[in-house]
């Protein structure tokens, strides 16, 4: 009992650490293009009350429905009233919500392994980084773990409620992102391997085909019914768009083509390399090798039948095979983005808990166990430090391996500057802004408070406007199309893309005269910075 309390407190502390690493400064990182697209998709749902699933682009509706409470709580009646935190709080809560779900797996993993897995879930740099990212990946991971936990509890208890929960998890996975099909394949493969393994182990004993003893088909009916129903409800936008149910299945054709890779093609070892060691010299180095290494030990222990520590060896075997299959499948698909690794990374995190306990039990002397405990604590602290660096200090830095096609801080400056200019313009927020760029994301997010923003993919014949934002590669064509006199400034969009801000000369002079806030600038600042410190 005493240990039970300590264990529960440990899991609560891990939960607190998870929130502490995920929750602060949700506006720290500039909006990614994908995140900006999702905010616009959410706005469509908010405005129309319905979500029309597109089988060719975007993803399922769960992320947007889950954002509704946050938007209501923020009192936002329009996109212009929202902030980064309105959206990013959703993956933050689901990312931290993985820990309470671990409680449901305590007798599958073993209590000690669950606690270690909880701590690693809290501090894994990739899990922290993408828990602050308004995309579907953390939502998919949450529903994946919900499915695993529900399935395990059903196997343990045979209570239909757990079967229904498992089905809800499966359906919600599908309604989150199309890549759930890869997870389903890993589920199926791991279930089959575990079943065959059990049959082989139980050959000639009374335990042969244990599942038949419980009327297994009832459970399957409950799971499948709940999954289909959940998916149908969500894809049909609660009955307002029945076509979504059909499109949900048609989408797999599209995504099968996309798996070819295109600009996101990476070699098979991309994810493993990223997890083991990454350094863009000169710059900091990154590694989640502790998790991968412990997961390898955990996998070996599970497959050898030595999970121990109070866990269920069948479930651990299932987990090991599932994680191996999922890692293999994602690695084999040419299309790779770093956030896609969350699914198998979390499998590794669970196995790392098993691996840590297996190592601890293998240490026969007290000194060895203490040394291992200290080493794990130091490794965990290092992961937490990396998580902070990834999520805050280097949140948009190309040297951060989790950063992918990320706009830099210039895009925030640009958004702020255009708003400041609008304050000086007689039309205010109705000042006309012309954006000329084939890839303009995430600018619509930063211009959401302006009422008249037009987007062009090529230079129009008459391009004049008080403010023009133009892709650097189109500037040659823009220049002849301008009649007024403009002042231009250079902004980076991403490391490989730049934007030019053209401001009509009169407006620019007014801006310089009145300053960013609309009041006269205080003049030249001298000696206003903090006093220098003594040299190091």
């Amino acid at each position: 009992m005493k240990h039970g309390w300590a264990w529960a407190l440990g899991l609560l502390a891990a939960m607190a650490a998870a929130l502490a690493l995920r929750l602060p400064q949700l506006d720290r990182r500039p909006m990614h293009g994908d995140e900006a697209v999702h905010t616009i998709k959410f706005d469509e749902l908010r405005r129309t009350g319905s979500y029309h699933y597109d089988p060719y682009e975007y993803h399922g509706p769960t992320l947007y429905y889950l954002t509704l409470p946050s938007a209501w709580l923020h009192g936002g009646s329009a996109l212009s009233d929202t902030a980064e935190g309105t959206f990013r709080i959703v993956p933050v809560l689901l990312g931290a919500g993985l820990l309470p779900l671990l409680w449901l797996l305590r007798d599958a993993l073993g209590r000690a392994a669950t606690l270690v897995a909880g701590v690693l879930t809290a501090v894994s740099p990739a899990l922290v980084f993408y828990s602050r990212y308004y995309i579907q990946e953390t939502v998919l991971l949450f529903f994946t773990l919900l499915t695993l936990a529900g399935g395990w509890r059903y196997v343990r208890s045979r209570q239909p409620g757990w079967a229904v929960l498992t089905g809800v998890g499966l359906g919600a996975m599908q309604a989150t992102k199309e890549t759930c099909i890869i997870v389903y394949a890993a589920f199926a493969g791991a279930s089959l391997v575990t079943y065959l393994w059990e049959r082989r182990a139980a050959r000639g004993t009374a335990d042969m085909a244990p599942s038949r003893r419980y009327g297994w088909w009832k459970g399957w009916v409950a799971v499948v019914s709940a999954a289909v129903l959940t998916s149908a409800i969500l894809f049909s936008a609660f009955g307002t768009h029945p076509r979504g149910i059909v499109d949900a299945w048609l989408a797999y054709g599209t995504y099968l083509d996309r798996a070819g890779g295109g600009i996101h093609t990476h070699p098979w070892y991309y994810y493993l390399k990223l997890l083991l060691f990454t350094q863009y010299v000169p710059g900091p180095w990154w590694s989640e090798a502790l998790i991968v290494g412990l997961a390898a030990v955990g996998t070996a222990a599970a497959l050898a039948g030595r999970g121990g520590g109070g866990g269920d060896i069948r479930w651990l075997r299932f987990l090991a095979v599932y994680t191996l299959l999922l890692t293999g499948l994602y690695s084999a698909i040419p299309y790779k983005t770093p956030w896609c690794m969350l699914g198998f990374l979390h499998g590794m995190v669970l196995l790392a808990g098993v691996g840590a306990v297996a190592l601890w039990r293998a240490g026969r002397r007290r000194f060895g166990r203490w040394a291992l405990t200290l080493a794990l604590a130091a490794g965990g602290a290092h992961l937490a430090r990396q998580a902070y660096a990834a999520g805050y200090t280097y949140c948009a830095d190309p040297r951060n391996p989790y950063v992918y096609a990320q706009p830099g801080f210039d895009v925030v400056r640009l958004g702020r500057r255009v708003e400041e200019l609008a304050r000086q313009h007689p039309d205010g927020r109705r000042m006309f802004v012309r954006v000329i760029a084939s890839d303009c994301w995430p600018l619509p997010w930063y211009f959401r408070r302006l009422e008249r923003v037009g987007y062009w993919e090529s230079v129009p014949a008459d391009a004049d406007a008080p403010v023009i934002v133009c892709a650097a590669e189109l500037a040659d064509k823009l220049q002849p199309a301008l009649r007024d006199s403009y002042i231009s400034s250079f902004y980076g969009l991403r490391p490989d893309a730049a934007l030019l801000l053209y401001v009509e000369r009169g407006l620019w002079e007014k801006y310089l005269q009145h300053g960013p806030s609309g009041t006269a600038p205080t003049g030249k600042r001298e000696g206003g910075m903090p006093k220098p410190k003594a040299p190091a």
Binding site: P282, F409, S488, L500, K524, M529, A534
Partner: protein, 244 residues
């Protein structure tokens, strides 16, 4: 008749000589390197190239195309010409104490700014936090500053914002502050409007002609870059001579 012939020969010879002189003069002018400023008291004949050693290029592909109308310097297609300064001009910032507006750099220490290592390698730069930050070099005593060369971070193509270089005799930069470079064209730094151009970081660093201005302290500001919001300083060299 003979006189007339002599006269023609004389005129032709004079014209030839004049042409030759003009030709040589023009040729000299076209090859003339950048000279240290007009404020330098040294006679033009004493000017020599400063001993500026460049690090290895760390990346290829500095964007060559500069959008028309932008306040961005066109990258050179050839190496920078030698900078001429009075004889005896050396890097007087080497190993001199450096202070900063960021008391807790993200990476590295202030010593790296003047340690002589300007390679884009691991452990070779100090990384200051976001927003407007500065590093300040104390030259120990007043110097005639001919040039300041700064390498922010030249491992990838990027443009640093609000690059402002000031010199002063006052460590707090309150009095007698002179700005030798300023590319903050919208006064977002609050240091005044600048007319200088923004530029791509390269292994050559940015050479700023300080025109022999006398000062003891050199302060360099920056406000993030097109890549991230941190402020990096790999090396700063200050070429000058002690004020006698």
């Amino acid at each position: 008749m003979a006189n007339r012939r002599l006269c023609v020969i004389g005129v032709v010879t004079m014209l030839f000589g004049l042409g030759l002189l003009l030709n040589v003069g023009l040729a000299q002018q076209s090859e003339e390197p950048v000279k240290a400023g007009a404020a330098s008291p040294a006679p033009a004949g004493d000017l020599v190239p400063i001993d500026l050693k460049l690090p290895k290029p760390a990346f290829k592909g500095t964007p060559k195309h500069v959008p028309p109308g932008s306040r961005l310097e066109k990258p050179r297609s050839a190496p920078r010409e030698p900078f001429l300064a009075p004889q005896g001009t050396v890097n007087v910032a080497k190993d001199k104490p450096v202070t900063s507006s960021d008391n807790d750099p993200i990476i590295g220490s202030m010593k790296l700014v003047t340690d002589g290592d300007k390679e884009a390698s691991e452990g070779g730069y100090v990384e200051l936090g976001p927003r407007l930050q500065y590093v300040q070099i104390d030259l120990g005593k007043p110097h005639k500053v001919c040039a300041v060369v700064v390498w922010h971070y030249h491992a990838s193509a990027r443009v640093y914002h609000d690059v402002v270089v000031q010199v002063s005799d006052d460590a707090d930069f309150i009095t007698n502050v002179r700005t030798v470079f300023n590319n903050d064209h919208d006064n977002s730094s609050g240091l005044g409007l600048g007319e200088d151009m923004e530029y791509w970081e390269t292994y050559e660093g940015k050479l700023i002609d300080a025109k022999g201005v006398p000062a003891r302290y050199v302060r360099l500001y920056s406000n993030g870059s097109t890549s991230d919001d941190q402020n990096h300083y790999t090396e700063v060299e200050v070429y000058g001579q002690p004020v006698e």
